[in-house]
Structure formats: structure tokens, C-alpha cells
């Protein structure tokens, strides 16, 4: 029996006048994933999130959350989803527990005692038990983020949508957030998260996708995304004992070697071949009688990929 995807988006399009924010996006996320959404500013991340959370009607497209069509059954979809927006706001006239109790009641969480327990549980989960009686407006940025995360977790949503959840959090809180998200995913919830701290996203997510100008560029595991984004390109640095000029001359004849640079006993170059070709290259150098002292490989990071995407955007 096929598993119903937690998030199933087909041909999603969002327009703001003439500007196309999301352009025919098709995406499927299985249950229990921590799925990351990466992209430069204006990529269409927030628009996608707003459609998924029923806050915005798309121009067209189909969106199903755990099999519920969010365009025709908004209220059921709202039971399934938990949303934490970027720079999450809190009301200025409520205390932390009142804010959470209000949402617990709105999501019809059991009796008063059950709501109180659930509020306490969520506060503990985000490490804010001590702030129960504080005014929301008196919290720091990081604490505010955590209160809103607690609010998002209250009704145990099947799909959690978190827009930049780590912004404003200190390193310790970020670690806690990572753990909390993994714990949630382990219970079967699906987490759809966006972040600008890409290395962190790669660490946090089981899979991710990259968007640019409303289009999906790549999706899969971090490694697959790198591959799809053309990031098999790597920089290799060979340190030799002697004859570095000969080494450079031989390397220049290789098709997959580009932008060769020479320094003292070191030859650096961009290599576009795969892992096997890389092994052949090393073997070839040795066969040329060149004695290798060290061999260093540097692959493009997510940041590099996105900077490249953003630069391309800027140029065009």
C-alpha cells in the first residue's frame, strides 16, 4: 500500500501581479522527514509556506497535507499544520502561559487541566518553564522564537512548517531546536523548515530542496542536491616533493582539469570529473614519477552553491 506523502505539492503557482513568486512547483515529502527549503531572498520560500499553511490562496495548483486537500478543506488542513513564521510575533497584552493556553483552547485540546499540562510540557520542551508567568512583550528575541515554537507544537501537528526557526537563537538553543525537531520527526511528524544558516540546515534535515525564482532547482539528500546543483566540481591541491612544474604540465593536458595555479611545491586546480576519474588522476601523477607529499580535496559547500545562485540572479 503506497504511503500518503505528508506534503504533496503539484504545479503550485503563486503570483503577485506580474511577479511570479512560485512557478509550477511540484514536490513531495514523505512522513517523518525533516525537510529543508533553501534559497536566496525572493526564491519563493515564504510564499510556498504561506500557501501550505492556508494563509494564502495560490493562483493554481494542488496541495495536499497528509491526504487533505488544503484548498477545499481549509479547517481540516489547519488542524494538521503547525506554523512558525519568520521573526515570529507575539501579542503584547498576554503572558506566556495565557498565549499558549489561548491556542491550546482554540485547538480544542481537552479539558482545562489537560491544556495546562500540555502548555507545561511544551514550555519544558523549548526550555522556557521559568518564563511561564512572564509577559510575552518582555521576552528576548530568542525566547520569543521559543514561545512561538511551543505554540506551534501545542496541538501536535502532523506537519510543522518553520520559517527560519533558528534566527535569534543562541548556539545552545539551536542545538536544542535540532534535537527537538529530530524528536518530533521520530514521532512521525514531518518538519518543513527553511533557514539561511545552510550548513545547519544540512545537519538538521534528512532531505532538502533548493528553490530559486520560484522554481525548484534540486531536491533529495544533501549529497544528491550537491550533485544536482552541479557541485561535483571540486578544488584539488597537490603538494609534491619536487618537479611541481612537470606535474603542472602533465595536469594541464587532462580534460577535467581547469584553472590551474602554481605555488611553491603546490599545484591547485578545479576538477570536474567524478570520484573514479579523481583516483585515475592521482595514479597518473605517480606514474609520471612525481612524488606526492599531500593531496587535498575541497568540495563546494551549500553556501558556495547558494552564493553562486544568488550571484547569477543579481547578474541577470
Amino acid at each position: 500500500m503506497p504511503i500518503t506523502p505528508a506534503i504533496d505539492i503539484r504545479d503550485l503557482r503563486v503570483d503577485y501581479g506580474n511577479f511570479v513568486a512560485v512557478n509550477d512547483l511540484t514536490l513531495s515529502v514523505p512522513p517523518g522527514e525533516v525537510f529543508g527549503l533553501v534559497g536566496p531572498n525572493g526564491a519563493g520560500k515564504t510564499s510556498t509556506f504561506r500557501v501550505l499553511t492556508t494563509l494564502m490562496e495560490p493562483t493554481y495548483g494542488e496541495v495536499n497535507l497528509c491526504g487533505v486537500d488544503i484548498l477545499s478543506d481549509i479547517e481540516s488542513a489547519r488542524r494538521i499544520v503547525g506554523y512558525m513564521p519568520d521573526l515570529a510575533p507575539v501579542p503584547s497584552d498576554l503572558k506566556v502561559w495565557e498565549f499558549l493556553e489561548f491556542h491550546a483552547a482554540a485547538y480544542a485540546i481537552g479539558s482545562r487541566a489537560a491544556r495546562r499540562d500540555r502548555v507545561a510540557e511544551c514550555l519544558e520542551e523549548v526550555g522556557l518553564t521559568g518564563q511561564r508567568e512572564s509577559w510575552c512583550k518582555a521576552l528576548s528575541r530568542g525566547q520569543t522564537q521559543r514561545v512561538v515554537l511551543a505554540k506551534t507544537l501545542l496541538h501536535r501537528p502532523s506537519v510543522l512548517i518553520l520559517d527560519e526557526p533558528a534566527s535569534g537563537l543562541d548556539p545552545l538553543a539551536r542545538r536544542d531546536l535540532r534535537q527537538a525537531l529530530r524528536k518530533l520527526a521520530a514521532t512521525g511528524a514531518t518538519v518543513f523548515v527553511s533557514s539561511h544558516i545552510l550548513s545547519e540546515l544540512a545537519e538538521m534535515c534528512t532531505s532538502l530542496c533548493v528553490m530559486n525564482r520560484g522554481k525548484l532547482l534540486a531536491s533529495g539528500t544533501a549529497e544528491q542536491v550537491r550533485e544536482q546543483m552541479g557541485s561535483h566540481k571540486r578544488t584539488l591541491t597537490v603538494t609534491v616533493l619536487a618537479h611541481h612544474q612537470e606535474a603542472a604540465t602533465w595536469l594541464e593536458t587532462q580534460a577535467s582539469v581547469h584553472r590551474l595555479q602554481l605555488a611553491e611545491q603546490q599545484v591547485s586546480f578545479e576538477f570536474t570529473g567524478n570520484d573514479e576519474a579523481q583516483a585515475d588522476l592521482m595514479e597518473g601523477l605517480i606514474q609520471q614519477g612525481i612524488r606526492l607529499r599531500a593531496f587535498e580535496e575541497k568540495r563546494s559547500s551549500f553556501e558556495d552553491i547558494l552564493i553562486e545562485v544568488a550571484e547569477t540572479n543579481r547578474r541577470s
Binding site: 504545479d11 503557482r13 503570483d15 493562483t59 479547517e75 488542524r79 497584552d93 481537552g110 496541538h155 501536535r156
Partner: protein
């Protein structure tokens, strides 16, 4: 993972409504509430004590009459708290939710839109309700000691409550539409102020329906029973001459009709708010809802006005005559009838503009609609969708307005007061042309060019000519004719010009007798030509939008 069950309708009504409870928490905190209650108590106590002491000591009233003296001042205080403070709180509170950004959380709550609206409606002004509540014992004591019967105070307080709800709904709609907190506050207060100052004046000139949006008619009806007996008897004698509420051939008690009118308005506001809570991008009213609302208001205007023509109670001079001299020889003037017909046309036109603004889709809504339709394999926008043009609906409303205007005018002119005068059917044609050209022109401009262009057009074509013409006309008698030509540019003057020109009982002064009809026919022709041109431009603009949506 099993999400909790969807809140049922029962669990979100009344005290259990989470939105209502949320505001009870924040607005009924002892510190803030204590001061508010103290102020309300002090003022109510002061009014109560002062009127009681004044009544018994200086006016030698008996205890019952002295107690009655406090009822009306207390009612005014309660109205100020609930109508003014409450409405401001509702609109300001709603805008604050948007301002702070927490409105999205509320949108996401899986509660039916109606429950959310009710939560806000009673939650946001909950402190003001509490303030009124503490003044009620003073009122209750005065009513009891003053021997005011249940039949008098119960309808009054029922309408007091429905009026508060009507104004709070106005505040909610304002707070939902207006983005700026200060503007929302000012607009809602301004609307309530208008309802008690401007609107009653319109009601005096034949559009009786508008006064039922206030507490005034029921208050006036209850007045004899609330005042000290002597004063009450005088008012009661006056009221015996006053018209009763008639709606076409039916007669209603004031309280029933007021609740009926306010109920209709509350229903429309509910529809608007629920649409917005369901989808933020939705227009406030759908095409069918807006057209029905327009026709409903026309029915109310006519239903109230027509039965008052034959007895003469519709004419403002009747009221004046009653107050100033013996009304026995009174008869309405032709100018009065022409003016009332013109005012009916102007109010209908303004109402048509307002509804047009509500249902006309912005270009981005049209583009989205087209793309959706194309994706689904369609070739035209569904007639009732927000993205579809409002053109046919506005034409229907303009025609309905023209029918109402014509029926009203015919009933006035062909009444027993103006024997020998008839309104030919051709007048309907001109009325229809006046409303169609202004309404469709406004719509075409709005849909093709957007709100900014319309705003400038309203200022420079709608208002400035009226100002210039008025200044010219009052500065020199020789400029009367020229000023009438300039005033005629404004579509707002068209209904008055139409009635002055087309009605046989119209008695224009000599210096306007030639210029006004000429200006009317000329500007009507110009307006019709411009509207046809604008409509053609609109068709082209819509075609461009449809083509652009392919990209």
C-alpha cells in the same frame, strides 16, 4: 500522530469561545479594569445623585419623577461608553492584531470564521461592556423608582444593544480593511458620529430608513415614559402626530423595524468578515451578495418612504410647520419634492459607487483568476468569481437604483399634493442613463486604471467643480448660469439636475431655467460618451490582462 478533534460549534460559542476568553483575560485585568470601572461608577453615581437632588429639591418633583430624571443622562453615558469607546476599541484592536503580526496565528486556528468574528465582536469591547454593566444598577434603580414600565425600557435597551452590535461590526470591518491603527480608530468614530449627525438629516429629507440604524427612533418612542410625567405628557402629545413605522402596506413597532434594519446590516457585515477570515485575498462581498444588498437597501428606502407621502409626513416642511406654526394649512412645496427626488438619486449614486468599489477586482486578482482558469482548461472567468468583471452586476444595480428612484419620484410627484403633475416613463430612461453612465464609468475607470486614478478623478471631476461652481454662483448673480454649467460636470450633481430638468413641477429660478437643463443634457451626453469610451478601454485592458496571464 492524531491531531485533536476540530472544535465543534458548541464549544466555541459564548464563554467557551477561545477568542472571547483571550480578550476577557487581557482586557479584564484588575489594574486596567479597576480604573475603568471606578471612572464609570463615579460618573454614573454623580449623574444619579445630581439629577435626583435637582429634581426633588429645586423642581419640586415627586420621588418617581425625580428618579426618572437620571434615566436619560445615564443612557447617554452608556451610549458614549459602548458606542464610541467600544467601537474605537474594536476597530483599533483589530488593526493592532494586524500591526503586531499575530493575526496570522488567529487565521490558522481551526475555528469556523463566524466563531472568530463573534469572539472578536464581544471580546474586544469586553471592558466597555463591564463599564456599562456597573452603571446599570443606577439605571435599574431609576427605572424602578420612576415606575417606568417594562414595555418601555425593555425595547429601548434591546435596541441599545443591537445598535452597539451594529457599530461594533462597523468597527470590525473598518479594523479589518484599514491597515493603520490610528486611521481605523478615526474612521470608525467618524462613522458613528455621522450616523448620529449627518444620517438623521438625510432621514429628514425622505430617506427615512437611515434613522433606523441608530437608537434614535426607539429612544424617541420611549421618551414620554422616561421623562418626568409632565414633560413626558407634552412629548407624548407631540408624538401622537408623529408617523408610525410603515413598510409598504405593513405597520411595525419602531423597535421591531429598527432591529430588522440593524439585523440586515449586521448580517452583511458578518458576511464580509467571514469572507475575509476564510480568505485574506477575498473581496468583501461577492457579486451576488453585493447586488442583493443594494436591492435590499432600495427596498427599505422605498418601503419606508412611500407610505409617508400621502399623509405628508415624508416632507421636511411638515415637521417644521408643526413646530413653528399651525400645520393645518400646510402643504409641501414643489421645490421640496424635486429636492427630495434629487437627494434620493444622489444617495443611490453614492451607494452604487461604494458597492462598485467593493466588488471591482484589482488587476492582480484578475490575472490570478485567468491563470487559474487557463490551468483548469477554461476559457472564461466564472461570472460570480472575485476575478470576474463586475460590469453586468453594476449595470443591474444601476437599473435597480433607477427603478427605485423613479418609483419614489413618481409617488411624490403624482401624489395628492401636486395635482395635475405626471412623471412620464421617459424620465425613467434618463434616470437609468444618469446612474448607468456614472456607475459604469466609475467602474470602468476603477477596473482599468486602479484606485489612484479614481481617487484623483473623484477629486477633480466629482468635487472640485462643485466647489468652483458654488463659489462662482455665490459671488455674482451674473455668474449663475456659468456656475450651473461647471457644477454640472460633477456626476454627483447629475441626479439633482435630472429632477430639476425632467419633472414638470420643477420651478427653477429664472437665471437657471435655461442653463440647468442645457447643462444636464450636455453633460449627460458627454458622460455617456466618456463611459462608452471607458468601457471600450476596459475591454481592451481586460483583454491585455487575459493575454498577460498566459505568460
Amino acid at each position: 500522530m492524531n491531531p485533536p478533534p476540530l472544535p465543534t460549534s458548541d464549544s466555541i460559542r459564548g464563554w467557551a469561545n477561545p477568542v472571547f476568553r483571550r480578550y476577557c483575560r487581557s482586557r479584564l485585568r484588575p489594574a486596567g479594569l479597576g480604573i475603568a470601572l471606578l471612572i464609570a461608577l463615579l460618573i454614573a453615581g454623580f449623574i444619579f445623585a445630581l439629577t435626583a437632588s435637582l429634581g426633588s429639591r429645586f423642581n419640586n418633583l415627586d420621588p418617581a419623577d425625580a428618579a426618572r430624571g437620571a434615566i436619560i443622562p445615564l443612557l447617554v453615558l452608556q451610549a458614549l461608553i459602548l458606542f464610541i469607546l467600544g467601537t474605537a476599541q474594536v476597530s483599533g484592536g483589530m488593526t493592532a492584531e494586524t500591526d503586531e503580526g499575530v493575526i496570522d496565528y488567529q487565521r490558522l486556528i481551526p475555528m469556523p470564521p463566524l466563531a472568530k468574528v463573534l469572539g472578536y465582536l464581544f471580546g474586544l469591547p469586553v471592558r466597555e461592556y463591564a463599564m456599562v454593566l456597573v452603571t446599570l444598577p443606577f439605571s435599574a434603580w431609576s427605572l424602578w423608582k420612576g415606575h417606568v414600565s417594562f414595555q418601555i425600557w425593555a425595547p429601548l435597551y434591546a435596541v441599545f444593544f443591537t445598535t452597539a452590535i451594529t457599530y461594533h461590526m462597523t468597527g470590525l470591518v473598518t479594523g479589518t480593511v484599514v491597515k493603520n491603527r490610528r486611521w481605523a480608530f478615526l474612521i470608525s468614530i467618524g462613522l458613528v458620529f455621522c450616523l448620529y449627525t449627518v444620517i438623521p438629516q438625510i432621514a429628514r429629507f425622505g430617506l427615512v430608513f437611515f434613522k433606523y440604524l441608530t437608537i434614535t427612533p426607539v429612544f424617541e418612542e420611549s421618551l414620554p415614559g422616561l421623562l418626568p410625567k409632565t414633560a413626558g405628557a407634552i412629548v407624548a402629545t407631540g408624538q401622537r402626530l408623529a408617523p408610525e413605522v410603515k413598510f409598504f402596506g405593513l405597520a411595525f413597532p419602531e423597535v421591531v423595524f429598527t432591529i430588522f434594519c440593524q439585523g440586515g446590516l449586521i448580517l452583511i457585515f458578518l458576511v464580509m468578515l467571514c469572507r475575509r477570515w476564510r480568505r485574506t485575498e477575498s473581496l468583501l462581498l461577492g457579486k451576488l451578495g453585493a447586488t442583493s444588498f443594494f436591492i435590499w437597501v432600495q427596498m427599505l428606502l422605498l418601503g419606508n418612504a412611500l407610505p409617508l407621502i400621502e399623509p405628508g409626513n415624508l416632507f421636511p416642511s411638515r415637521e417644521f410647520a408643526r413646530r413653528v406654526f399651525d400645520a393645518g394649512n400646510w402643504a409641501p412645496t414643489a421645490v421640496e419634492a424635486v429636492g427630495m427626488s434629487g437627494l434620493y438619486g444622489v444617495v443611490t449614486l453614492i451607494f452604487l459607487f461604494i458597492i462598485t468599489k467593493i466588488i471591482t477586482p484589482a488587476p492582480e486578482i484578475q490575472i490570478r483568476g485567468w491563470r487559474r482558469v487557463r490551468k483548469e482548461g477554461g476559457s472564461s472567468l466564472p461570472l460570480l468569481s472575485d476575478a470576474a468583471t463586475a460590469f453586468p452586476w453594476i449595470a443591474v444595480m444601476a437599473l435597480a437604483g433607477a427603478v427605485g428612484w423613479f418609483v419614489f419620484t413618481q409617488a411624490l410627484v403624482e401624489s395628492r399634493w401636486f395635482p395635475g403633475h405626471l412623471v412620464p416613463l421617459s424620465v425613467f430612461g434618463f434616470f437609468a442613463l444618469t446612474l448607468l453612465s456614472a456607475g459604469l464609468g466609475f467602474h470602468a475607470l476603477l477596473e482599468a486604471k486602479g484606485g489612484r486614478t479614481v481617487g484623483l478623478t473623484v477629486i477633480f471631476i466629482g468635487i472640485v467643480p462643485l466647489m468652483i461652481g458654488a463659489v462662482m454662483g455665490t459671488s455674482d448673480n451674473r455668474l449663475f448660469a456659468a456656475s450651473s454649467w461647471i457644477i454640472g460636470i460633477s456626476p454627483l450633481s447629475m441626479p439633482s439636475y435630472a429632477t430639476s430638468t425632467l419633472l414638470s413641477l420643477s420651478e427653477l429660478p429664472e437665471n437657471l431655467a435655461r442653463s440647468v437643463p442645457r447643462a444636464f443634457y450636455f453633460w449627460l451626453a458627454v458622460s455617456a460618451i466618456v463611459t462608452v469610451w471607458l468601457v471600450l478601454r476596459l475591454r481592451a485592458a481586460r483583454k491585455t490582462i487575459a493575454e498577460r496571464s498566459d505568460r
